[in-house]
Subunit: 125 residues, 2 copies
């Protein structure tokens, strides 16, 4: 055995969740919307993106709508009918948001990781 036992091992994980909200706090853009947008970027389809994200189309559609209403501009350009039945394509604004969000998430992932290690160290000391 080593010098110190495993008795006071701090065996818990640190999780976090991000979301954007209106100033008043009602409407929100959850991380799920980010995942949806990535999916739409890949497939040009809200339906497919919802499936990939593992949520119902109904919810995906509602979430996206709320996000657009909150931001005040469209994140997708939707068309119905046609050969493929219709599609949802990201707007330039959505692409910009995706890019900015990726940077933000990376920064916070790092900060959380770092904070977690410090917490663990303090709790295991």
């Amino acid at each position: 055995m080593g010098k110190r036992g495993k008795s006071n091992r701090f065996n818990v994980l640190l999780n976090y969740k991000l979301w954007l909200s209106s100033i008043s706090g009602e409407g929100i853009i959850s991380e799920e919307v980010h995942i949806l947008l990535v999916g739409i970027h890949d497939k040009n389809s809200l339906k497919a993106a919802a499936e990939d994200a593992g949520i119902s189309y109904r919810k995906a559609w509602g979430d996206l709508k709320q996000a657009e209403s909150l931001l005040g501009y469209d994140l997708t350009e939707k068309t119905r009918g046609g050969k493929k039945g219709g599609q949802s394509v990201l707007t330039p604004a959505a692409l910009k948001l995706l890019e900015a969000y990726a940077a933000l998430q990376k920064k916070l992932d790092d900060a959380v990781e770092e904070a977690y290690l410090e917490l663990k160290k303090k709790m295991e000391n």
Copy 2:
């Protein structure tokens, strides 16, 4: 009017939520537990802490129990009966956790604030 209008103002707030979980992910210690612990520290009463936190005693009690079970040790020393009816007092381990958590929260608050400003800047440019 200034040089740039307020048209592309990114009028949304960045929120986040932290929690600890078991490796397997079932049990969790939510931020609410942190608030509860602070309340217990102040009042030496779970009942009072729950009221302050604005949640039911039933939930507060369940949350605390889950947290203790997840950590594997007690966060409070509870007594029933007596002059005041009983009380809940934080254990040294809970105090240590509170301290470590405060530092963690400060660090993340700062990181989020910083990340938010960057996001805003990118989205408003």
